[in-house]
């Protein structure tokens, strides 16, 4: 009994919980930066560690040691709480991901709905952080973050629920476990879910505020958007939260559409192999996201919302209807 509890705590804190995903997040940031740099004919991080892969760690440590300035006009409690909550929230979200086996540390029927709520809460935190900084740039950034949420949230939910449609045939379920188990034969990306995957990628790009949807933190327009006034430890925590969120969304993409920690061919894999599979698959998702970032320019907020409602929304609803209808039609 005692042992089981200790193992659970280790699981949450070390593997596959907080520590694992924090390191994974920083590693992904390095992969993202390096790949992005190579796409642009640059070398990217180079000096810290082999090929500079320790650079995000070094950045984190450096920021922790930097002076922490809170603007005079800021709402101090909210302003200071936001980075902590952001990190807590993203670390909570990763507990749902199955790194090996078919279930995460937390797993219950309907857990993907909870994940959707967490992702929305993250944007609410961004809004609070920006609006409490009492800076014009932050305020505009916050407003843009909320506007952007209006654009991509429904397509994101539709693509995730659409992914759950693969469970309809055998064992209808709204849980990650159900989705992963249903993909043991064939990954959902091979089929109608390919469209869902594309929509998910675009929505994830918007959630992560990366080009072409880095509108809330558009550098050349509003300095760093909602993050403008953050510095020192708070910025370090925010960036870590961002990195963990990146790892989370890549992992979620791999879980929902690429079969999670399962090998291509049906059959159980060991803990090590399935962990490696999970990481490799989420890196594939990451590389696609990086490619998207390199290939486009930043949209304007009105263009983004326009695009989301005109194209993304109808497509996602079409995708959802097809995903639900086709298995049912086949059943007849």
């Amino acid at each position: 009994m005692m042992l089981q509890e200790v193992i659970d705590i280790v699981k949450v804190l070390v593997f596959p919980g907080f520590l694992f995903f924090s390191i994974l997040g920083l590693l992904y940031e390095w992969i993202d930066r390096k790949f992005y740099a190579r796409l642009q004919n640059r070398v990217g991080p180079l000096y810290t560690g082999p090929s500079g892969f320790l650079q995000p760690f070094a950045d984190f440590v450096k920021l922790m040691a930097k002076e922490d300035v809170v603007p005079e006009g800021a709402e101090k409690p909210i302003f200071s709480a936001v980075p902590v909550f952001a990190l807590a929230l993203s670390l909570f979200a990763v507990l749902f991901l199955p790194v090996y086996g078919t279930r995460g540390i937390i797993s219950f029927e309907g857990d993907i709905v909870v994940l959707m709520v967490i992702m929305t809460l993250f944007v609410v935190l961004i809004f609070l952080g920006g609006i409490s900084s009492a800076s014009r740039y932050s305020e505009i950034g916050s407003e843009r973050a909320i506007l952007q949420l209006l654009g991509y949230e429904i397509p994101l939910v539709a693509s995730v629920i659409g992914a759950a449609a693969v469970t309809v045939k055998a064992n209808p379920s709204l849980s990650i476990r159900g989705i992963v188990e249903a993909q043991s034969g064939l990954w959902s990306i091979f089929g109608i879910q390919a469209l869902g995957f594309a929509i998910f990628l675009l929505a994830a790009q918007a959630e992560l505020e990366r080009t072409p949807f880095d509108i809330p933190e558009a550098e050349t327009e509003i300095v760093a958007g909602w993050m403008t006034e953050y510095s020192g430890k708070k910025l370090a925590l925010l960036r870590l939260a961002r990195d963990v969120e990146l790892a989370f969304l890549c992992g979620l993409g791999a879980t929902l559409f690429l079969g999670g920690p399962q090998p291509v061919f049906p059959g159980a894999a060991g803990t090590v192999i399935s962990t490696v599979l999970f990481v490799v698959k989420s890196i594939v998702v990451l590389l696609i996201l990086t490619l998207l970032r390199a290939a486009m320019s930043r949209l304007r907020i009105d263009q983004m919302v326009n695009f989301a409602w005109k194209y993304l929304m109808p497509l996602s609803i079409l995708q959802l209807s097809l995903a639900v209808l086709i298995p049912n039609l086949l059943a007849f």
């Binding site: 004919n41 072409p212 050349t220 320019s297 930043r298 304007r300 907020i301």
Partner: protein, 395 residues
């Protein structure tokens, strides 16, 4: 209007490479007005010029702008030579032309990169700047320096362009032409880039004429104003080229004008090398310039540059006036940044609309009164402004 808040862009802001202050009045995401305040880069060059000889001023003129230095030293030399009234050797004219055009290629590529960055298209930015480096190296080979070229002197040029160096220039031009054509295709085809540039920063033809816009800004509004064609100087009278104009009047037009001009420049350089006569590269002119006045002007990458020189029979100018193209284009900025009727300006459009005139603050603010080694006076003025921005301070 009553709900409008003012957003200070600058004096320091990531979208600006040099200090200027644009105060934008914003209603939600929409810009309803804009005001400019400049002067952060004063170096008092015009006053300083009255205390130095013509030759010294040539090097001072070169330092007016780090990007288009040849343009300024050329204009000053041209004005001075007009007063003295002596013909230059043709070879010097051709070498000057090649220098001016290399400057243009370099400046336009630099601008294209900056513009791409302003709309968040960093990949194009990095690619263009990589190729710009080739031009920089070339300029170093031709003039001896990467910046502040010291190529032009009163009475000719200081450095010859021998055959083997000219051949290297041609080789790089071939490479560059291919690249620039690729970027042109990229700029036309890339959907998100077009979304950000089409219909943005509108400057109608009649406004461009009334506000005396110059250079690519005017040509993108359909005004075929190019000093090289209207007032041929150096070797431009013997080299055929096309004055590129577009008439959509927006940022896309300015991008395409500059890309097409880069291609034209490449052809001009090829032609100039082909036609270049042999002979001396300079004549000795007296240090003392007879009393008189002269106007030198050329087409800088950003537009018309004009220098006015008044001499009084000494080796120092009595009055030296410089007008850089950015100042001429500044009047257009408030027009571009003010929503009017169907034309809506978003906050997101400010950086690219402002950047589309290729603003060069150190050119514009050159002028006036004192050379302050500690660089200070105007900085004092802006401190309160900077504080206000950095402390946020709410509304």
């Amino acid at each position: 209007m009553s709900t409008a808040i003012d957003i200070p862009i600058g004096p320091q802001h990531p979208a600006l490479k040099e200090p200027i202050n644009i105060t934008c009045y914003v209603d939600g995401e929409q810009v309803v007005g804009a005001k400019l305040r400049m002067g952060y880069n004063h170096r008092g060059i015009e006053k300083a010029g009255e205390y130095q000889s013509y030759i010294q001023n040539l090097y001072l003129a070169e330092r007016i702008c780090g990007i288009c230095g040849i343009v300024h030293s050329f204009s000053l030399a041209q004005a001075t030579e007009d007063i003295i009234g002596k013909e230059l050797p043709r070879r010097a004219d051709y070498i000057r032309t090649i220098g001016l055009e290399l400057n243009r290629v370099h400046s336009h590529l630099l601008w294209l990169g900056v513009a791409a960055h302003e709309v968040g298209f960093d990949t194009l930015f990095m690619y263009v700047w990589r190729d710009r480096e080739a031009v920089m190296d070339l300029i170093e080979e031709v003039t001896g320096n990467r910046v502040t070229y010291a190529l032009v002197t009163i009475g000719g040029v200081r450095r010859d362009l021998p055959q083997e160096r000219a051949e290297k220039v041609l080789r790089v031009m071939d490479l560059l032409e291919e690249k620039v054509k690729k970027y042109k295709k990229m700029c036309i085809d890339e959907k998100t880039l077009r979304m950000r540039c089409d219909g943005v920063g509108l400057l109608r033809k009649e406004d461009a004429i009334a506000l005396c816009a110059v250079g690519p800004t005017a040509r993108a509004s359909g005004v075929p104003y190019d000093v090289r064609a209207d007032d041929p100087h150096a070797a431009y009278d013997e080299i055929p080229f096309k004055v590129v104009t577009y008439d959509t009047c927006d940022v896309t037009a300015r991008v395409l004008v500059r890309i097409d001009e880069t291609l034209e420049s490449i052809n001009i350089i090829r032609e100039a090398i082909k036609k270049m006569p042999s002979g001396p590269i300079r004549v000795r002119l007296p240090r003392v310039v007879p009393a008189g006045e002269g106007v030198g002007r050329t087409e800088a990458p950003r537009g018309e540059v004009i220098h006015y020189v008044r001499s009084n029979n000494s080796d120092k100018p009595f009055r030296w006036k410089v007008r850089a193209p950015t100042l001429a284009n500044f009047l257009s900025i408030p027009v571009m940044l003010t929503s009017k009727g169907d034309y809506v300006v978003n906050i997101a459009d400010i950086p690219i609309a402002f950047a589309s005139i290729d603003p060069c603050m150190s050119c514009t603010d050159r002028a006036i009164k004192f050379v302050d080694v500690n660089d200070g006076k105007s900085w004092v003025w802006s401190l309160s402004q900077i504080k206000r921005v950095s402390h946020g301070g709410g509304r």
